[in-house]
Amino acid sequence: MSFFQALGYFTREAFLSLVRSWKISLLAVLTIAVSLILGGVFLLVSGNLRHVVEGWKSESKVVIYLRAEASGSETVRMTRALEETDWALDVELVSAETAHRRFRRAFPSLSDLLEGWGENPLPTSIEVGLDWQQFEDRPALEAAFAELRADPAVSMIDDDRDWLNQLEAVVFVLEALGLVLGAILLVTAIFTISSVIRLTAFLYREEIAVMRLVGATEFFIRGPFYVEGLMQGLLGGAVAVTALFGAHLLVLERYAGAPLSLLASRFLAPIELLALIGLGGLAGLVGAVTSLRRESLGQTAETPGWAEG
């Protein structure tokens, strides 16, 4: 029998066995699916969160507030100096008047508050858009910031980086957690598949014995079980991807615009979906291989003879 003929035969046998013991097969498929869904949810949420954070990062600014006493020439000198650096993408000098105007436009109902103050309480500031690449280079940037803080013209520096970095750390922890949990569940799923395949082999022990007796090779005896494990894993992967997509649609529809929807608005990339399904298949195959690794298939007769060697 050629390899492809054999593969066709294995697939047919595996399919028949899946149908015949569909209840335990379903159990195997579902355990694989649950582990992949959990891993997928983490992947989905962290991927969206990462996307959001990237967006914020690219817009993030450092605002340098100047003291009221700072002279115009000092302000201009500082702006120039900042423009020279390679981490400042764009540098905008916001005069006290501009700040005042912006405030009135942003909060019209509060503009009276400013009027009642008499003189303009808003300081002159320099807004610096950051080049994120350079921004990652912390020591150099820290040094530059320390220098700025020491400058007598500077009153304070408002820096988004700290909390963005914290958010990034959260994303990272989320991803790690998802990976670890997914991996643990996947190992559980492998054990389940392994037991299910062992059980199936037990159900088929008479037939296996007959096949051995008439001269079937191990390849022929094990092939259908390997294909069965693979099928269960792939099915589990497909179930997981479908469930994830359903969840994604549900979030889009029900919670559109809500902050939560940010976490599921972008679906997984095709390559990630394929990876999930492939991982399911691999888990199924590994489960089948481990379940048949030992002398679990029994021998031709009632007694195990070869095992004693």
Binding site: Q5, Y9, V210, G215, A216, T217, Q299, E308
Partner: protein
């Protein structure tokens, strides 16, 4: 040809299955293997088709030393040996055709070739018309015929029968015996294990007697029952 050279089989638990057996069976011979329960008959057969490996000694089957046969080669040896048991060992959820065609299917024969082969082989055992029946729809004697057809499907040189009539009443036993004689007459080497002394007396031929793993007797009885090809002709249902 089958040759045993000082073959001993000791099981893991220390039980002696076979103890220093030396013998030779020529191609095409018909041999009875007898002795009380526990004498080592099953062990003897298992050693030939490599279900068990000897603890010491050598066994040649058709010129091949099977006592040192690598495990991966065992299936190829088994394709040249047919085996039948007292308990038939048919798969109830498969049809007669499927039960008989395990090996042809593994060998990659087309379903037409399989059908043809199954039909011819089942005709030889008188069951060509039950191709699509399930084993449990058949009588005990018919089930054993199906098992024999399964053993014969690849035209083996050797047929091993481990008490094949043990589950059958005397008339059915005789039918199965005639069938196996017929197979022998077509040139197959047959080793027939049984503790039914009457049956052996009626049939005749070479008789090996085992006791506690030792070969204690080896003699020839004159041929009796079922002269030659009458075997299958004489059988009615």
């Amino acid at each position: 040809m089958i040759e045993f050279f000082r073959v001993t089989k000791r099981y893991a638990g220390g039980q002696i299955g076979l103890d220093g057996v030396d013998l030779r069976i020529d191609p095409g011979q018909m041999v009875f293997l007898t002795g009380p329960s526990g004498a080592g008959k099953t062990t003897f057969l298992k050693l030939i088709y490599c279900e068990e490996m000897p603890s010491s000694g050598n066994i040649l089957v058709n010129g091949r030393n099977v006592s040192s046969l690598p495990r991966s080669k065992v299936p190829y040896l088994r394709r040249t040996i047919g085996v039948v048991f007292q308990s038939f060992r048919l798969i109830p959820r498969k049809t007669v055709f499927e039960n008989v065609c395990y090996l042809p299917r593994i060998l990659g024969l087309s379903s037409r070739e399989q059908k043809k082969l199954a039909f011819e082989t089942l005709r030889q055992v008188g069951l060509a018309h039950r191709l699509n029946a399930f084993p449990l729809q058949l009588s005990g004697g018919e089930q054993q015929r199906v098992a024999i057809a399964r053993a014969l499907i690849n035209r083996p040189e050797i047929l091993l029968a481990d008490e094949p009539t043990g589950n059958l009443d005397p008339e059915l036993s005789d039918e199965i015996m005639r069938l196996i004689l017929d197979i022998h007459l077509r040139g197959t080497t047959v080793i027939f294990a049984t503790h039914d002394r009457d049956l052996i007396q009626r049939v005749g031929r070479r008789v090996l007697t085992l006791d506690q793993g030792k070969l204690i007797d080896d003699y020839e009885l004159p041929s009796g029952l079922a002269a030659e090809t009458e075997a299958t002709d004489g059988e009615q249902k």
